[in-house]
Symmetry: C2
Subunit: 111 residues, 2 copies
DNA sequence: GGTCACTATTCAGTGGTACTATGTACTAGT
DNA sequence: ACTAGTACATAGTACCACTGAATAGTGACC
């Protein structure tokens, strides 16, 4: 993956995953697959699992073990209120950044 | 500063600074001041200088020492062709991310 | 003439995040 | 048995922004 993408994902990947969970609960393997479908082809499984461990440790999600027909049991993650609040903050921060960067990108300014 | 902002700046702050330099050459202290003017009120001076050392080491900028009337000599940074190319890649990566995140934010999808 | 304020740069140490690479474990098809 | 697909876990690495402090020059004020 591009080095720039790697760095830019720091801070945003977490928001992306939480946004996916806000849409509907999901488990790690599924999240990884969905990310790939959506164009993030180079995100490693290990990255997602480590991230999920982190958001669980931070109390942003609820976890439920669900048996699978084909493989080990799944850990299904659900966004909880604290996670939703955290996600709202994420979008605020993201909006702030996009506003500033759009100005820099297009608004060849006359300071 | 918000922890989310701190993490989100990783990868983007470098692009922001390079974009500022693309507009016109500048020195560290000036860049810090300009960032503050543009709303990044909490970016520490040390952060900017460390970033400038890095982009210089990576050969993205040219450096010229210019005496100052009031203070130590300034190190004026100018974006070079390699830096411009790197900045173009940055905008591509940024556009990719914004597209995906906009879909996640608004487009409550029908996968 | 000593302190304060502003300008200007540098650097050591810290914490957080994504990546690499690998390992574990269950199921099904051959 | 062997392979492939599903599913989760983790140690080690690299990179980046932040904290906090140090260094150094100039001008102004008392």
């Amino acid at each position: 993956m591009g080095k720039q993408m790697t760095e830019m994902l720091k801070g945003t990947l977490e928001g992306i995953v939480l946004a996916i969970l806000a849409d509907e609960p999901a488990y790690g393997y599924e999240i990884t697959a969905r990310l790939r479908d959506q164009g993030f082809t180079d995100i490693a499984e290990g990255t997602v699992y480590a991230l999920l461990v982190r958001v669980e440790r931070n109390g942003l999600v609820e976890v439920e073990r669900v048996p699978s027909e084909k493989g080990p049991p799944r850990k299904v993650y659900t966004l909880n209120p604290k996670g939703q609040e955290y996600l709202d903050e994420f979008w605020q921060t993201w909006d702030f950044l996009t506003e500033k960067l759009n100005k820099l990108h297009h608004g060849r300014n006359a300071s």
